[in-house]
Symmetry: D2
Subunit: 147 residues, 4 copies
Amino acid sequence: MPSFEPRNPDYRAVATAVFDRQQAMRSLGISIAWLGPGEVDLAMPYSAGWSQQNRLVHAGIITTGLDTACGIAAFTLMPAGFDVLTVEFKTNLLAPAKGERFAFRAAVVKPGRTLTFCEARAFAQTGGAESLVATMTGTLMAMMPRV
Amino acid sequence: MPSFEPRNPDYRAVATAVFDRQQAMRSLGISIAWLGPGEVDLAMPYSAGWSQQNRLVHAGIITTGLDTACGIAAFTLMPAGFDVLTVEFKTNLLAPAKGERFAFRAAVVKPGRTLTFCEARAFAQTGGAESLVATMTGTLMAMMPRV
Amino acid sequence: MPSFEPRNPDYRAVATAVFDRQQAMRSLGISIAWLGPGEVDLAMPYSAGWSQQNRLVHAGIITTGLDTACGIAAFTLMPAGFDVLTVEFKTNLLAPAKGERFAFRAAVVKPGRTLTFCEARAFAQTGGAESLVATMTGTLMAMMPRV
Amino acid sequence: MPSFEPRNPDYRAVATAVFDRQQAMRSLGISIAWLGPGEVDLAMPYSAGWSQQNRLVHAGIITTGLDTACGIAAFTLMPAGFDVLTVEFKTNLLAPAKGERFAFRAAVVKPGRTLTFCEARAFAQTGGAESLVATMTGTLMAMMPRV
């Protein structure tokens, strides 16, 4: 992965603030484990409340973590004053989402003035082991907030 | 849309049972509004608890509704004894997910012995009006449950 | 499908001109069968030269037809002076691409100032019958040509 | 990337044979530059015949290279006697496909008995430099050939 120069020196503070304003993150117990320019690592404990019919975490909830990871990763590279919006993503589910905790790791592949392309992976963690359960590729858009 | 002949005469009961076993649906307040062979319509009230940074419904939560709609639609056409699993989906976000209620409507386009292809749309509803906010295309897999 | 009002009164002439400048269309023998605001229908004869290992049309060639159909459909709704660019697409392959001729039909679902979302379907035609072989959803971007 | 153990000791010969049976590869001048278990690197010279309206390589032709790369990469890990089929892919176009030559590099991320998940990247090469122009994620299926 290339490393990127953030255009907003306060990228860490504003990215954390955007994350904190997402009530869905609080509802799901998702927190930022690590944050850098164009990269983010989120953590989520397992909860039966987010399960599908086999007590695995619902693919949509895995996607929620992946999408936020992509959005925050993209946002760290945007100029001050912009907001971030998801245009599209694809999730591939590779293994049952079964674990004590989950990690959602996103990295910007191609930042752009309007569109940013990110990749992310979701891992299930049990004890000290982790395994890949899903991937996302997504397009994020920088938006001037409406006044 | 073509109309399909369910292979399981009890499709309605088993599809409803699979839906009811998804705790994520209960947590999000999602219910089945309508169900037919290869088609399903889900309903969800707005809740600030599922919002992103602008109090819109999080793209991942919209995806959760769309994915369940696709899964249940595919499941109605599967033979008795099978379970359904999501292989992949893409979500395109077309408009801000702002509304009092949301509808997630999925239809099977191509059922198959192993893989089923579905399309779904998410609509935001306010008063009597509704507008398209997102689309999904997804691949679902029929699985013999492990004994 | 909604019907759209083209912003460029010459949409038909400029969309046809963009299509004609695509040498890939000539190489593949693809032509415009029908064109309207936000909609296009392309036609391609079968040729063994575009086949994969089983003499079916290669999924990438089917995608080439679908992508051009989406691009031209999006382009018909763009203001004069803009160019069109593909941001992303997903293709789902639903049946073997086996036929005497192929049709690629695209329709704009959501036009936008910057991004336009399209859906397209590929059909194989043999004798008088046709069958769905693939679908595409894609995002197209309007670009001011560089001076 | 993990490294994989091929189940077919003749994987190199059969993968090369499947590639050679794809007439589309010959038509486009695509060749195998490198092949290993679960990985493949294809090469294509630029030709104006595959261009879109700005003399860039058409996104569908880039996709054709990426899809074959994914298919062959997946095929190297399949048991003897199986054929490979594309279920779906998403292509994200990141930069203009402008170059003297193109490389399509695919790697299996998750092999499976029925479904295999691959990632691929397309690079444009000019002189000694190369740049990323597109990415693909795709699902491939192992098929017992019909007798």
